[in-house]
Symmetry: C2
Subunit: 331 residues, 2 copies
């Protein structure tokens, strides 16, 4: 096995976030379930945008956020995702490239525009997402470059990729290439409703093709169709080598070879916007793995990165995470 | 004089901000003067954007920010400014309308795209701005609706409007309409270099057509070509009825009829990004005036609004300013 020249390659939906404050009553009026992601079409995106408050635009996408975090931690990262050759596509490419992440996926030159996620942040800091997938539906196996996958220590897949039609094929291809090169494959379940939409496919992927699984309580419970977190945790142990299960303010728990490592959440002065919490937990955890740190330390770095991201609007780090780690004694 | 149905109408360059962190060395390498605004063309905007770090996009424009502040304070506001019928133009229109500000200026259907300001925020929280005026150069007297100006208690002009060629004519027209309707006219000097580019025109406007002047130390000193703030303050007294001179952390001083009211700055836990500090001071001050509060109270409200805006990225308020005032005992 040759030396990996990339720490992590992320594959995901390339989405620009449009973030605004909203009251709980607005969510209720629009029938939105707090904390989850709903897929919407272009017309609904326009209608919802018209009803939203003043917004800011910022590059997002779950795996894209994770890769920006990896780069900020000092890791080498690459990203595969599909934008269109439009204004938002340029913004997306600029932001992830400027963050230090290699991004070579060709933009679509026809079809729907770059994806947008309309994110409503309620006064409690929770985010509720409404995604118009746009150009993301064009991502397919042809976008997976075997050389880049082979060069990466870890291939990281976001569960949201189960929604666009061809992307599942793309990431099964990526997982197969990674494993035949002796690399690891990580997956985030992303969203409980996304899991329920594609449960059989998720279980199959987790069972046979994933080494490291990220999920929050709702997602892991959805995967194993139980309301009992303990039961879900027991089930997942039998399927993946490493599971990192996040529990919001209760921290996370890492399951590996019959051992359970609880990890505390890092303190946050004020939770402003939880968007990206899971994504940045994954950044820290995966970065730790690539540095062959013990799993509890990987979880602690994940907690620190998650705490930074929820202390401000937007899902990309506003400070140098490498320096943040150093200040916290993880240098 | 009929009852005013609008508290403040702002006229300005309608600009979407593109905000990124930058090191001091980056400013030095690009020959940029910290804290000021430089006009750039489309090619330079593209080149500078390529060199910038990951960014967020947020509606800005000095008078636009001020009007968003007025609306957040519970005032009724309107805005005149020129965007194009492109993606960023839609974003601008959405944000200011969603903030509760009336915005009826027609978008340009040809010519350059909606204006962008590339804002570099250094680790000290200072912002350095690079503005591509784009569609703003199309703003002209035809965009001034006499009925709306007449309906507004105060017409507020941003000094940046001296840069695009036809806008001076537009705001001289607006000032004349306002005064003949018995209304007040306010002006912000905006930027010391903008003042030096158009000093004679600024002095003429301040002398004959402005009732309320906003300026920071560098701007007022530039207007009267002196290094001595005291001398500049003495000079401005002879030309305008009310001058509100802002001094960053040293607060502000309000000059009226031979009296000087010093106003303290409001405390800020951490200065994140000073973009919009002057704009939001103007929001608070003008809002106070429309509620016929004493001038020191107007200044205090200005300080509170400025403190909110510099505590986060971006130049539009993230909290309800009316509630902020109430919490601070200004209800």
């Amino acid at each position: 096995m040759t030396q990996a020249s990339i720490d992590v390659i992320g594959i995901g939906n390339a989405i620009v976030d449009v973030i605004a404050h909203a009251e709980d009553s607005f969510l209720a009026g629009e029938g939105l379930v707090k904390g989850t992601m709903t897929l919407i079409d272009a017309d609904r995106a326009d209608a919802l945008y018209r009803m939203m408050g003043p917004a800011i635009e910022a590059s997002g996408g779950s795996a894209g956020n994770t890769m920006a975090g990896i780069a900020s931690l000092g890791g080498t990262g690459a990203y595969i995702g599909k934008v269109r050759d439009d204004f938002l596509g340029q913004v997306y490419r600029h932001d992830i490239t400027a963050a230090g992440v290699r991004f070579e996926t060709l933009a679509a030159t026809a079809g729907p525009g770059t994806a947008r996620c309309l994110i409503l942040v309620t006064p409690d800091g929770q985010r509720t997402m409404n995604t118009y997938l746009g150009a993301c539906v064009e991502l397919g196996p042809a976008d997976i470059d075997p050389d880049v996958i082979t060069a990466a220590r870890i291939t990281y897949l976001e569960g949201y990729l189960f929604d666009p039609p061809l992307a599942q094929e793309a990431f099964r291809k990526a997982a197969a290439i990674a494993h035949s090169a002796g690399r690891q494959v990580a997956l985030s379940l992303s969203d409980p409703f996304c899991v329920s939409r594609h449960r059989a496919a998720f279980r199959d992927l987790v069972d046979g093709h994933v080494d490291i699984l990220f999920a929050n309580e709702a997602e892991i419970c959805s995967l194993y169709e139980t309301d009992d977190f303990g039961a879900a945790a027991a089930a997942v142990r039998t399927h993946v080598a490493i599971a990192a299960l996040t529990r919001s303010a209760a921290g996370s728990v890492i399951l590996v070879e019959g051992v359970e490592h609880p990890v505390a959440a890092a303190p946050v002065a004020r939770v402003v916007d939880t968007t990206g919490a899971g994504d940045l937990y994954a950044s820290g955890f995966l970065f730790g793995l690539t540095r062959t740190l013990p799993l509890p330390a990987c979880g602690e770095i994940g907690s620190l990165c998650a705490a930074e991201i929820i202390s401000h609007f937007g899902a990309r780090p506003e400070v140098n995470l490498s320096q943040l780690l150093g200040d916290a004694g993880h240098a």
